[in-house]
């Protein structure tokens, strides 16, 4: 099947198998390997991307379901090399160790801050409920999101 999607600002058209998962489309067809796979069963959140502005676990969607959509992946968050405040926050506050969960965490946080620009630590923890991190114990992730929230609202 043919699909047309706008990925990180550029439209592209591809022929895909109907059963191809969106995450595999992004990684293997579009070559955007910053989106990771940690479970393939919509639990870990490593594959989180934004589809039409909504955080979506891209392992739960077929590529064909995204036909016509605008998709933002981690690679599109700093198009001109200028880090997004969330990326900067994760760097400043040591919000990552192995970095495997990080792209998904950042995009989930992106949506979180869009909905709630001034979250409490508790709200951040609740808001990231769909994203697992095995390295950090989450505390520095909470700080990273707070760091970004402070910069984004000023």
């Amino acid at each position: 099947m043919k699909i047309k999607v706008k990925v990180n600002g550029a439209w592209r058209e591809d022929e895909v198998e109907p059963r191809l998962l969106l995450v595999h489309y992004l990684r293997d067809v579009a070559g955007l390997t910053g989106t990771h796979i940690g479970c393939e069963t919509s639990i870990c959140g490593a594959c989180t991307v934004l589809v039409n502005g909504e955080a979506v676990k891209s392992c739960t969607l077929f590529a064909v379901q995204a036909d016509g959509a605008e998709i933002l992946t981690i690679e599109g968050l700093a198009p001109d090399g200028q880090l997004h405040p969330l990326q900067q926050g994760f760097w400043e506050e040591h919000g990552l160790q192995c970095g495997f969960c990080t792209p998904g965490m950042i995009l989930a946080s992106y949506q979180l801050l869009k909905r709630n620009p001034h979250p409490s630590p508790e709200e951040i923890r609740q808001g990231l409920e769909g994203n697992l991190c095995r390295c950090t114990g989450y505390q520095h992730i909470v700080k990273a999101v707070e760091w970004a929230a402070a910069r984004m609202s000023s």
Binding site: R27, L32, G38, E40, T41, C98, C135, G137
Partner: protein, 775 residues
């Protein structure tokens, strides 16, 4: 003068690529002509394999090859075990099962196809005739005479029995003034669950006769040697690269059958072969951790002084040995005395085969079990003698002047001040205030619990004499003609952040900017030798190798600079990109000395051109980081739900090079330890089916389940290495589990609770609240 970087909160060098999605993990590697591999795995815990029908799989679209155990016999070596234990039984462990399967998830056949989808589809088409055999999943039952024997050729299910004795426990039995406390603890089976599963790409290039392997591993050099042996290749023909690795926690300190199979397939097909583990496979067939039964007898004087400890450890090893499987429980025995110099000790460790996946090193690897035992024991002593758990610990600590302290277990602790860390954490937690609050709340029918853990761990592994495959580490520092510095390490960090801390060491030492230093690791063609990252060794052992290599380089540069300046080399210091006398009167630019060394126009006699030094550091002892933690929990009297309300940690990992990284290690470690105490558990049913085979069932903790961790440090440097660093990668995981369990048991004291086995799920607590304890 630039402020020193060591001891500062320096941002990580690793992060810019990772926060932009530009790091490359194994699954991100694409090679021309690459094929994909998938496995058909055993559905039975114990069964004989009859015929395997592969025709349908072979005929499926995109399939290039199918392999069974029969096909690879004699073509691929056994999965290796490096543990050296006297009398150890080692079952043959084929990369694909040959005539029998011994656990659910054991690989039986492999399919190689044009895409991952095609390979997985075809793997499902393979039909295996099994003749099921009775399975044994409980290690105590596996010891019984009537138990099914997993490896018939080994006679029974006992892999080894090891005894460790110090002092004289037998003499205590006659002493009627002593109180004897008995206990039985179960340390449940856990899954490491790195967020990146395992994965491997093998690319055999027939022209060069070269096998290149990208693997998500913690030990690229060990893997290179083992894969070369398994594939009968010279090591020079085998290159292993650990690219970005998405966490390991010990589970990637190993050599797995799937890695061997990817190499075999690539060698046969002359094309690159990729295998990426699914999460279900990861829970079934990546090593598990813990899984011990501990029976204890503790001898205590009426004043709370513990004088003897006897322990039987039954260690459930699973069906086969992986790289270090049987060695892990022996570390429990080694560290069973914790922070206390108990003069008489006897530990018998029995390693038992069961029809389950192998256990091996999971963060802490044997030491969390030891800490759990001794820290639960200290609380039991307090309980039985009606003492405060703080007083029991203070009573049994050695004095800071007693170090180095040789224990009856045979290890010698380097340095410590247990009293200081305990006092500090009690102050942070407001301990006496908490006790009063607890009393107040109890009167209202609310249950607050306060739990302590004072731990010591064995780290910086280690002296080669005590390690299966050497315990040294390699480091290299070289300066390029432009004056920029390249550092190579034989360690293989995968999230811990040593690209950063190694660069801090070198930038400070050479007096150059942090940005001028680039650190590489993980490629066996780039780094000539190495052991890897595990056992909290990377900075303490690997960092020291780099520090020593840098020292050699500085010596050489000082001689060149001294020759130019007309002073003695010993008078020179390296600072602010210059090499100069202390008073700054005689000074030469760093870049000038580099140019002189490399272009070699006026080198002093006896100096070779180039700036390129390496060092191999062999530690004389382990290091023994320690600390004190306090957990505060609330138990809901209606639902049995436990809320972790506060967590305070004071950790001493020797000298702190980067407090931000140390904090990160402690947080992550504590989170995993709390996970074990409260939620995590791998469950097999009595037929050996894994019940917790997905992340729906295996409870990896989420952000909202934790409270804020209040962390602090004390710094007691070690003399074992010149940096004074002890190591911190496992401290949180080792220290925190008993603090949480002690807190919950403390909360439930009014119900007569003396012990509850982990994980402390609400249902268990609810039953106690409703039905009382059956002691």
């Amino acid at each position: 003068m630039a402020t020193p970087l060591l001891g500062q909160r320096v941002k990580r060098k690793e992060d810019p690529r990772l926060i932009q999605g530009r790091g490359h993990y194994v699954d991100d590697i694409q090679l021309p002509g690459m094929l994909h591999m998938a496995f058909t795995r055993s559905l039975h815990a114990h069964a004989r394999i009859g015929s395997i029908r592969v025709a349908a799989a072979k005929a499926a679209p995109g399939v290039v090859a199918v392999y069974t155990g029969q096909d690879i016999q004699g073509q691929l070596g056994w999965v290796p075990c490096a543990a050296g234990i006297e009398g150890l039984k080692v079952p043959r462990h084929s990369c694909l099962a040959i005539d029998k399967v011994c656990y659910v998830g054991e690989p039986v056949a492999a399919v190689v196809a044009a895409s991952g989808y095609a390979a997985r589809d075809a793997a499902d088409l393979i039909e295996v005739d099994y003749e099921p055999l009775p399975a044994v999943v409980n290690p105590e039952k596996a010891l019984a005479k009537e138990s099914p024997v997993i490896h018939e050729e080994l006679g029974d299910n006992v892999a080894f029995v090891a005894k460790l004795a110090g002092g004289d426990c037998a003499s205590l039995e006659a002493d009627k003034t002593l109180k004897v406390i008995k206990a039985r603890f179960i340390n449940q089976r856990l899954a490491p669950v790195s967020m990146e599963t395992r994965g491997v790409v093998a690319n055999y290039s027939p022209g060069e006769d070269l096998l290149t392997v990208w693997s998500s591993t913690q030990v690229p050099h060990i893997l290179k040697t083992q894969l070369a042996i398994m594939n009968s290749l010279d090591e020079a023909r085998c290159r292993v690269i650990a690219p970005e690795v998405g966490g390991g926690f010990g589970s990637k300190l190993n050599v797995y059958g799937e890695e061997g199979m990817a190499c075999l397939a690539s060698r046969r097909l002359g094309r690159p072969v990729k295998w990426i583990e699914g999460r279900r496979e990861n829970l079934q067939a990546t090593i598990h951790g813990r899984d011990q039964i501990n029976e204890l007898e503790v001898y205590v004087r009426p004043d709370g002084k513990v004088v003897g400890l006897k322990c039987s450890i039954i260690a459930d090893l699973g069906a086969y040995h992986q790289l270090l499987t049987p060695a892990i429980p022996t570390l429990t025995a080694l560290m069973i005395l914790g922070c206390y110099n108990i003069p008489n000790v006897f530990v018998q460790t029995t390693g038992v085969f069961t029809n389950k996946m192998a256990t091996d090193a999971y963060r802490g690897a044997g030491r969390p079990e030891a800490t759990y035992i001794i820290e639960r024991v200290m609380d039991l002593v307090a309980h039985e003698l009606n003492m405060d758990p703080v007083d029991v610990r203070m009573k049994n600590f050695p004095s800071p002047d007693d170090f180095p302290l040789a224990l009856p277990t045979g290890v010698t602790y380097d340095t410590a001040n247990y009293q200081r860390s305990l006092k500090k954490v009690l102050k942070a937690a407001g301990y006496s205030r908490l006790r009063k609050e607890q009393e107040r709340l109890r009167k209202k029918g609310k249950y607050l619990g306060i739990g302590l853990s004072t731990y010591v761990e064995i780290c910086a592994m280690g002296p080669s004499s005590r390690m299966p495959a050497g315990g040294w580490e390699f480091g290299e520092v070289r300066i390029d003609p432009t004056g920029k510095v390249t550092v190579l390490s034989g360690t293989s960090p995968h999230g811990q952040g040593e690209e950063t801390s190694f660069a801090q060491i070198v930038a400070d030492g050479l007096g150059i900017p942090y940005d001028d230093v680039t650190v590489y690791h993980g490629d066996t063609f780039q780094v000539p030798m190495g052991i890897g990252t595990f056992g909290s060794r990377t900075t303490a052992v690997g960092g020291t190798a780099i520090y020593q290599a840098m020292g050699r380089l500085k010596k050489k540069m000082a001689r060149i600079a001294a020759h130019q300046l007309g002073v003695k080399p010993g008078e020179l210091v390296f600072r602010d990109r210059r090499i100069e006398t202390e008073d700054g009167q005689k000074s030469i630019g760093f870049a000038e000395v580099v140019a002189e060394a490399i272009f070699a126009k006026q080198l002093p006699p006896g100096i070779d051109p180039g700036l390129h030094e390496h060092s191999v550091f062999e530690p004389s002892n382990y290091t023994f980081p320690f600390g004190a933690h306090v957990a505060v929990v609330e138990v809901d009297g209606e639902t049995g739900e436990i809320r972790l309300r506060n967590y305070y940690a004071v950790d001493d990992c020797g000298r702190v090079l980067n407090p931000m990284l140390v904090d990160g290690q402690i947080h992550g470690g504590v989170a995993q330890a709390v996970g074990q105490a409260l939620w995590e558990e791998l469950v097999y049913d009595e037929n050996g089916q894994l019940i917790t085979g997905s992340l729906m069932d295996y409870a990896v903790p989420k952000a909202h389940q934790f409270c804020w961790f209040e962390t602090q440090n004390t710094e007691t440097r070690t003399p074992v290495n010149p940096l004074g660093v002890k190591g911190v990668g496992e401290a949180g995981t080792i220290g925190a589990t008993p603090a949480v369990v002690n807190a919950v048991v403390d909360a439930l004291k009014p119900f007569g609770v003396r012990h509850i086995d982990m994980p402390l799920k609400p249902e268990k607590i609810w039953r106690i609240l409703k039905q009382g304890v059956r002691n």
